[in-house]
């Protein structure tokens, strides 16, 4: 394998890590039935918080903790607004997204383009010497390792443990889960806050690792991409992570190809690409279009392909909870 492509693969994995963390967090929250639409604003505000905390304390750990706290707080507001005060999750999340965006611009006005600390690379001995796989997977930093472990742990937790079963039941049939003794409301609070904390860590992963530093609108738009990838991933962390990798890899490959033909139009294509990808992917998993394609396939192939393409949200996602 060409060394150049290995370097690109390693950089794709690095670039993907914050989005993977955010997708895992949002998947947990949505599996419990809470849509945290504040993701884009959360990411911005936590990226700033992480940078500022690490900048003043020179401690990366404090940076990540501060960011996780900000993300958790944003998610708590969404959860409180919908679970306690019965307001629309979408409305609260959307207002929070805009507020997070303008707050990050205002609070971060004196921190733009300052040199700050960043996460150092941490090669794993022995493993890093494996040909091809070593330089891609084991010559990275802690954020990348964390994102990969997180995918494994959340997948196992959601689909193979008893608490995971309760989590899914809270999102699918909350009334039935409640009747069986699951404290649905409390569970939704916990997973929303946990998911928000992970989104916060993702924000700090940008400002301290992948896109080091702070500038106004530092991660603008990426939160929406993450929300779309949760849908594409069919509310599974593993499929979501693959979606992130696919997304980042497509962008990298196309930017490499376009660099050879520099021009005005290639910049336009590169900027428009994430949004075109988002629309295309959502149309494919959305139903009507892929159903038309699927219905032309031989019957024996329809089922597996439908499983691969279609994705259904948790049945009670965003719905009001009637408990007790």
């Amino acid at each position: 394998m060409d060394a150049n492509w290995i370097a690109i693969a390693a950089s794709v994995l690095l670039q993907s890590s914050p989005l993977i963390i955010a997708v895992c967090g949002e998947t947990l929250s949505e599996r419990a039935g809470v849509v945290n639409l504040s993701l884009d604003g959360s990411l911005l505000l936590s990226a700033l918080a992480g940078f500022v905390a690490a900048y003043f304390s020179s401690s990366l750990l404090l940076g990540f903790l501060a960011a996780a706290g900000v993300g958790a707080l944003m998610a708590l507001i969404v959860a409180f607004g919908s679970l306690a005060l019965r307001q629309s999750q979408v409305a609260v999340g959307f207002v929070l997204t805009l507020l997070g965006d303008s707050l990050s611009a205002f609070l971060g006005q004196n921190f733009t383009r300052l040199p700050g600390p960043w996460v150092q690379r941490l090669p794993i001995p022995l493993l890093k010497d494996i040909p091809v796989l070593g330089p891609i997977f084991f010559n990275q930093d802690l954020v990348v390792y964390f994102s990969l472990v997180l995918v494994a742990v959340t997948t196992w937790w959601i689909f193979h443990t008893r608490p995971g079963l309760e989590l899914r039941s809270a999102g699918e049939r909350p009334e039935a889960a409640f009747a069986r003794g699951v404290a649905v409301r409390r569970l939704r609070y916990w997973y929303a806050v946990l998911g928000g904390a992970l989104v916060g860590i993702a924000g700090a992963a940008y400002s301290l690792d992948v896109k080091i530093g702070w500038a106004e609108g530092h991660t603008r738009g990426l939160g929406w991409i993450a929300l779309a990838i949760v849908i594409f991933g069919g509310w599974s962390p593993l499929r979501g992570a693959l979606g992130v990798l696919l997304f980042v890899a497509t962008r990298s490959v196309i930017s490499v190809v376009l660099q050879r033909s520099l021009g005005e139009s290639s910049v336009v294509i590169l900027n428009a690409l994430p949004w075109l990808l988002m629309l295309g992917v959502l149309v494919v998993v959305g139903g009507r279009f892929s159903e038309q394609v699927l219905s032309r396939l031989p019957a024996a192939l329809q089922r597996p392909f439908r499983g691969l393409l279609r994705a259904a949200p948790p049945a009670a996602l965003g719905a009001e909870l009637k408990e007790g």
Binding site: A84, V95, V268, A272, W275, G324
Partner: protein, 350 residues
Amino acid sequence: MSRPAWLPRLWPLLPSFVALLLTSLLLLAFGASPPLAFGAIWEGAFGNQDRLLTTVAFWIPLMLSSLGLLISFRAGLWNIGIEGQFILGAIGASWVALSLQLPAPLQISLQMLAAMAAGALWAGLAGVLKRWGVHEIFGGLALNNLAIILTNYLIAGPWQPPEGGSFRGTAPFHADALLPLVGATRFSVVALGLALLAFGLVVLALRNSAWGLRLKALGRNPRSALLLGVSSRRETLLAMAFCGALAGLGGAVRVLSWFDSLRQSISGGIGYLALMVVILAAFRLLWTPLVAFFFAAVLSGSVVLQLRTQLHSSLGNILTGVLVLLVLLFGNLDSLRAWWAEWRAGRRRS
């Protein structure tokens, strides 16, 4: 327990006051005096006749977009794509302005029609995507970003001014393409007339027409609306298209009076601001113009605040954002009481 009838109506003033307090704390943290800051906003919005007219000029496109959202929300649609529909309106108007030269009334009417068509088209696209299973929030958001990219492409490419200065906008439109302005302000009487006319029509359509009733049925309960013979497909597309047309008209007003050419940040978030207006007005028809006017005053007054204190211009957005959030969360006395009762019941149980 009995309570006076005025209490639930005046209750939202309390969270509004808290929002003002929180913003003051933020100002203090940045070393600015809140009375001076709010005074600067007030002066910037209403200080003299020109400033008042400028505030109204800012209000008009915001108002048109908010009116559009009243229609789409009535049909139960979250039209986040309004920002892109606004931008497409500006592009549509610019296209006619740059390619035709007709007598002013004809020219301006054509520009407005092109803007409404472009906005409706962009909204219709979000409607079609919804039919294909893409929620209007995601479809709209992607279309917003594509609209911004399209603007930048047009400015840097085909519509680049002849001198070759490709940085911020197209060449200024010819005089017959622009709306006549009052004095040295950006206020246009024609635009104000259009906004008031649009308000009247939207109120009539939503309150007194069978179409308004169908939209309401669709928004409240799509399933029973279907049983009553309301086609969700047709009404969804229509509601989106009308909203897009009004936002597009707003974009045209913006590009033909506030500016005189197509610029990079032609909207500057007016579409998103309109969403905030309508959420704060709780989707009520008569409150919408008032809330929109308050937002216009805060944001147009923030310009003076920025000049005086050197603080970042997003302060106006923070004030409005905190206000909408707190009123949304705590502005409904009934839901607060329900939560309080539930909480006490929960404590007694454990």
